[in-house]
């Protein structure tokens, strides 16, 4: 079993997510702000006629200083039947990993809760954190989906 992953950086860390969830990658353009939403929701953009929310994972995970420069990109994801954009510090590569190269994540003090981590892998002597992006985006704390937000 092989896995194809899109790797990207958030602050100093490298992350990977299932490439099949990725619809496209775009440059960052300031979205339209929506009041009364969490600060990691940057707003909404027009993606060929569809209104797509933009999540800043760096703000959500308190990683780095969430600066916007030439390498800042938006990964447009297709998860849970929705289209969602995620701001990251940069997209690195598309890699193929064998299943056995992926190790389970130990309980550790990562910024990302282990329940959203599929596993860890070492690629070119660098640690790569595999995110379960569907689970993360559907989670209650992201409040992207109305049902998940009702408790507020």
């Amino acid at each position: 079993m092989k896995r194809e992953l899109l790797t990207f950086t958030l602050g100093a860390e490298s992350y990977g997510l299932d490439i099949l969830k990725v619809q496209e990658i775009r440059g960052y353009e300031p979205p339209t702000r929506i009041a009364n939403t969490p600060d990691f929701i940057k707003g909404v953009i027009n993606l060929r006629g569809h209104i797509v929310p933009i999540v800043d994972l760096r703000v959500k995970l308190s990683l780095g200083e969430a600066k916007f420069d030439a390498s800042t990109v938006v990964i447009i994801l297709n998860v849970l039947g929705r289209v969602v954009g995620v701001v990251v510090d940069g997209v690195s590569d598309v890699i193929t990993l064998m299943e056995d190269a992926i190790k389970p994540a130990p309980e550790f003090g990562a910024v990302l809760d282990t329940q959203y981590i599929l596993g860890l892998a070492t690629v070119e002597s660098q640690l790569l954190i595999l995110i379960d992006i569907e689970k993360l985006m559907g989670s209650r704390e992201m409040a992207l989906v109305a049902e998940a937000a009702e408790g507020e």
């Binding site: 339209t32 009041a35 707003g43 569809h50 209104i51 797509v52 109305a146 937000a149």
Partner: protein, 676 residues
Amino acid sequence: MTIDLTRFHESFFTESLEALDATEAHLLALESQGGGDASEASERVNAIFRAVHSVKGAAGSLGFLPIAEFTHHLESFLDHARKGSVAVTGSAVDALLASVDHARSLLKSARDGGAVDTHRAILLVETLRNLSPDNAGVSSRPSPGAAEAAPGDSQATYRIRFEPSVDFFRSGNDPLRMFKVLAEMGTLEAQADVSRLPPPEQFDPEACYLAWDLILTTTTPRADIEEVFAWAGDESRVVIEEDGPAEAPVKVPEAPPVEPPAQDRRATDRRQGDRRRERRVEDDVGGDLRTDRLHVSRDRVDELINLVGELVITKTMLKQVVSTLDPAAVERLEQSLANLERNTRDIQDRVMSIRMLPMSHAFGRFARLVRDVGQRTGKQVNITVTGGDAELDKSVIEKLVDPLTHLVRNALDHGIETPDERRAAGKPEMATLALHAEHRGGHIEIRVSDDGRGIDPERVQAKAREAGLLSENETIDVARACELIFEPGFSTAAEVGELSGRGVGLDVVRKNIQALSGSLRFESEPGRGAQVVLRLPLTLAIIDGMLVTVGPDAYIVPMTSIVECLQPDPTTMKSIAGRGMLVELRGEYLPLLVLSQLTATEGAASFEDGLLLVLEAEGNKVALLVDALVGQEQVVIKSLERNYRKVGYIAGATILGEGRVTLILDVASLVRAARE
């Protein structure tokens, strides 16, 4: 090979219901014209016959036997009418209208399930038969959609089942050559049946496992067709079935056709399905048995509308880019751009028009309602319809039918008096109920008016007191009465009748209209009549919006909810501890909402430098402070919930010319928030 016949059902139901609507309209016209123009009357009877005939044929071929059987009886009666041996007046119209209703309920039960009153069908058939000049002449045997011979040498359609023997090829035969001969006679459609193919290990390359279903439309006599198959050998099976002529002017009973064996049922149905489509194509050329309408799923149209919206945005972006370039160098580019702009606008108009339907679609049904109510209550009502051509978005029309029905029933029930009362009031006995529609800018205005007794303020007053809507010593004028009847819980119906006053009042009507971003106004002159004026946007997908700014942000406020716009005067502003702020406007205190506070926007203008918008929703008003008005825009409403979720105070989003997302304010939720 399995053929899913159900894919034809949808269009069958739609077409048949349309045919019944047309039949009903013709019947009502026949009745109201009485002994009018004879040739026009006979044309109408013919049109009814054709409509019923096509419902019968399609029902038969799709296996809806109760419908086929019932419409067969209807058709038999109409055949007499067509030949002039029975007049379509009085009781015949009653019976036919009742039959149309029954056919409708048969169709609906076939589509949605549910029981049908078979006893009623028997009674109706009996009535029709008694009305027929020659009772014995009416056959009770249904012949759904088949068994009609072609008179003379006119074109006929043959359905041929050809199952060659296994040794067919060995005897030197070539099916292809036979089909070529058939194809020369007319139009031929061939469908191979591969169900006899053995598993590969038993396959004999020299044996013939195939069978064919052929549909041949030709003027060639049947004998010549049989001749083609004469050499096929005794072992081969050939079944030639003759369909009715493409146009069936005269119906001549014929011996039942050769029944194909049971295992061929599916193939036969399939051929009939094909035939339905084939007839549709033929009708486009000349026949009027079917409409030239296309039934397209709404999703596809919406997708198209979406794409066109994108095209418009791209064009605007392109135009902005070009405007920044050196004009001398891009003169030709600008020319092309002007063309693109024109074409884009045309495409947009056309695409939007796909969703549009004429108002007559909604008005049409009221002629029947007025007639039936008139018969039941003894009231004489003449209905006039004007502006039925005015077009409106299909989804708006669909949502408008219920409120309109309510208003028409209300006028019939409460407004219009009995002939005696009218005579006593010095009015003609025949009352008039008028339906009118017209376009006004981006809106449509629909008026339902009657010349009945109008509103009675005293009665309204008494009722309102009873319902607790008015205090004991409060008195009202006509204008206030016109407003009160739209309050929840108000109904002047003395008794809860079948027609109206079923607990749901005019407040529901108003709510429905407001849900369509429309407004409603009731006017009445006591003793002279009443009029309801509805104002609605032409489509739900597009609204007129006012672009307002607050700080660096922009929002769209729906025009329908803007009452007025004014410069704020600090002296009119009152602050109430813990209750927010109020603005006094001509003696009325409105809650003040500050948009920059609601949206947590920084850098917004101060109260003095801003603008106040007076907004109304659900009967309540608020004042909203914004920085400035930018201008009026027609905007396409996009869902925020599709990919995100519902957000407070926001009704949706739109994309403005330059491609940027702009949020649309939800005035109803603002008003609600202000009152809490």
